[in-house]
Symmetry: C2
């Protein structure tokens, strides 16, 4: 289902201003979240991050209208994925936005959980570097061409995801999620300043680590850190936790999977406590069940 500026659409197409700067210049931000039992999981965190990005970029959506559309959309889809897109709206030619630009708000939902939990990743290290000096690396901007292109290249060689390094040779993230390594009792993920998005699931995992006896740190990581780790995984709001099994030609360790499963269990418990038990069970892959 789609809602354009608060209005529910009967189909995926709508009367749309083709001067929209989101379409023409990638001038906008978005957010993707999980919906369970008619509610957005970690809604306040998602909304807060989206609005902080809007503030930073000078986008001025009507906040209560935005929140209200999200609630209605989540309620209608029940269980699935929800995406919110805020663009600068339409304007005349030229890059500098008009101060009175009226943002476009697009909310869309997909019913059902198409993403499986614990879905293994084999990642190619992309030759495209993440640009830690670019705001697009730290805000969820519409600019996904690098990730799309890197993924196309990776798929040609049989990989199902990529890992981006930044310009300082540090590891950053996958195409659609944050990267973590588990080494002994330490859970580590790159700091936002290395050019990564402050993911909501990332935030939850950093917060939950102590509950399974892990010390969580945000620190710059090298490829060597990753290949030497006991477990490596990607986090995002729909897949939650996906183990990275292969990085280029290096098969990564699985020795930390038991501990990782404990951490994942904490995350699932936090979600299920708020949104109803058993909501995610149908998406557990066989491997996930075996591991836990």
């Amino acid at each position: 289902m789609h809602w354009l500026n608060g209005k529910k659409l009967q189909e995926t197409s709508a009367f749309f201003d083709l001067r929209d700067r989101g379409l023409l210049l990638g001038d906008g931000v978005f957010d993707t979240s999980l919906v369970l039992n008619g509610e957005t999981v970690f809604k306040e965190h998602h909304l807060e991050r989206l609005l902080a990005s809007c503030d930073f970029l000078g986008l001025t959506p009507d906040r209560s209208a935005l929140a209200s559309t999200i609630d209605i959309a989540a309620s209608e889809v029940g269980k699935g994925a929800l995406r919110v897109t805020v663009t600068r709206g339409s304007g005349p030619r030229g890059l500098l936005p008009q101060p009175d630009a009226k943002p476009t708000i697009l909310v869309s939902t997909s019913a059902g959980l198409s993403e499986a939990l614990w879905q293994p990743i084999s990642a190619q290290i992309s030759t495209t570097r993440k640009n830690e000096t670019s705001i697009t690396s730290q805000h969820k901007c519409l600019a996904y061409m690098d990730a799309i292109h890197a993924l196309r290249i990776a798929a040609e060689s049989g990989f199902n995801d990529v890992v981006f390094l930044n310009t300082g040779n540090h590891v950053t993230c996958c195409s659609t999620g944050n990267l973590f390594i588990l080494s002994g009792k330490t859970l580590a993920t790159p700091p936002v300043s290395d050019g990564v998005l402050p993911g909501i699931t990332r935030m939850m995992l950093l917060d939950l680590a102590a509950q399974v006896g892990l010390t969580a740190i945000e620190t710059s990581l090298t490829v060597e850190h990753v290949t030497a780790a006991d477990a490596v995984f990607m986090s995002n709001s729909l897949r939650l936790i996906s183990p990275v099994e292969l990085l280029d030609n290096a098969r990564l360790s699985t020795s930390g999977y038991t501990k990782l499963a404990e951490l994942a269990g904490q995350l699932l418990e936090r979600i299920e406590t708020r949104h109803g038990m058993g909501q995610l069970i149908g998406n557990n892959s066989a491997e996930w069940l075996v591991t836990t």
Copy 2:
């Protein structure tokens, strides 16, 4: 005027699939060109570059339909700017494009030449670096958020454009055009591999340099090269040549302006020979007339 997939629209809005990947993920490319006497200036070069980018990115627009829409749009606008946007079209969620995605082709025109020739630039050096490892630096992708943001920041300090360095500290380009320096008998501009778009006007100027006794080279440039040059300018397809007068706090030399005016004269002559004399005169600013 707007043409969506070859169909002329009566207004700027149209029935549009909101799952379009250009809108949601910046998955597309575009081109902007000048129209004089009902024809796109350097049309074959613009079309060739756009289609080469489409090939590279796996976008498959109908080439004859695209060329035909451009011709019709140019003919109808007569004199002005023409923009062609090609997106991946609509698709399901997920970054990896469907192999059978049907591209969206949007052509729009603006009548009249709103951009003045020889419009002086005062540029701030952006803290955002151009990422020379990203395809978006060398293809005219929809991802303009970095330039938009940099321009907003620059405008707050009274600048009207920006200069991006790349991750290797080399000078690349302005927000909407290539950068050139003129030093003695040498005309220099960064190579595409430094993270710049292979601009059509850039190509023409490199080709025309010899006719005014200049040796044209593509070479990596530092800020010191720029501040020591006899003249510095930006080129693009609508403004053609814009002198850069100020870079951060450094007032740049004007000693090469006579030679630069000769080069600009060659460019205007090439355009006017093909598209009719006097077409661009109305857009010459006072300064431009004085200089030439």
